[in-house]
């Protein structure tokens, strides 16, 4: 399993655990008054699962298991794989920080944090697709 895949998968498990913990916090709003930052974290909960856990796990497994490009360069660009990992996680973590703070203080600096988060995650998806597209093919049968 390549190093990038290990980072993707281990990070995915961390996000899953954090999302479940956040889920407990959000559910406890049924019985206690939640602090505002927690009450505004429902979208963060869903995106920790869908981006942090599901999509990140899929990205890692694709980088590992899809047909190789060539023996010399089996998984395409390793730098682009790292770029995907860094952009996706930086974008998601920025969202985790900025989304509740922006909900409490709309139109402030936290709003610009959400814009940057959006761009980072979008770039991660674009780079991932670019680096994986030519591996959607029949098994490699030599040059």
């Amino acid at each position: 399993m390549p190093l990038q895949t290990r980072w993707f998968i281990k990070s995915a498990f961390v996000y899953l655990a954090v999302a479940m913990a956040l889920g407990i916090g959000l559910a406890s709003g049924m019985v206690v008054q939640l602090p505002l930052w927690l009450a505004y974290s429902s979208p963060v909960f869903f995106h920790l699962i869908m981006v942090g856990w599901v999509t990140q796990m899929i990205f890692g497994v694709i980088f590992w298991m899809f047909p190789i490009v060539t023996r010399a360069r089996p998984r395409g660009s390793e730098r682009l794989a790292w770029a995907t990992y860094i952009l996706l996680n930086a974008g998601l973590l920025l969202r985790v920080l900025c989304e509740p703070l922006n909900a409490m203080n709309p139109r402030g600096v936290w709003g610009w944090g959400l814009v940057v988060s959006a761009v980072l995650q979008w770039l991660a998806a674009v780079i991932f697709i670019y680096n994986s597209w030519y591996r959607i093919k029949e098994r490699y049968r030599g040059d």
Partner: protein, 135 residues
């Protein structure tokens, strides 16, 4: 990777791009307003990423890696999996664009029916391959 899986996965990548693009616009709009009509695309964002990306990718991978038969055709009768590809994508398009473009409510209902059809057709094709080593 068989041709049909390639189709599933390429289409899934298309929805990944569309879903992340719409998601980025919606997230940026939360921070710095762009256009109020963007919110009507939230159901499409969810549909593209849940059904178009995640579910479609899973089906493509399942068709590729599930156990194959010892004798040809190695992946059994694949008609159901081809039908599922068409039904799923027609369903995702209808179920996402219906609410976003304020089409008839029937667009969403028919879209969901097509998605159910896709699930049944794919299950019909793949069930015989859900076996142990002994077959």
């Amino acid at each position: 990777m068989p041709k049909l899986s390639q189709w599933y996965i390429k289409l899934a990548f298309g929805y990944l791009l569309a879903g992340f693009t719409m998601g980025a616009l919606l997230l940026a709009h939360k921070g710095q307003p762009i256009h109020p009509a963007l919110w009507s695309w939230l159901p499409a964002h969810i549909e593209w990423l849940l059904m178009g990306w995640t579910a479609q990718f899973t089906l493509g991978m399942a068709f590729w890696i599930m156990p194959r038969f010892w004798k040809a055709p190695r992946r059994g009768n694949t008609n159901g999996a081809y039908v599922a590809l068409v039904l799923l994508n027609a369903g995702v398009l209808l179920a996402s664009l219906g609410p976003a473009l304020r089409l008839s409510p029937w667009a969403l209902i028919i879209g969901r029916l097509l998605e159910v059809g896709a699930a049944v057709a794919f299950a019909h094709a793949i069930f015989p391959r859900v076996v142990g080593r002994e077959g």
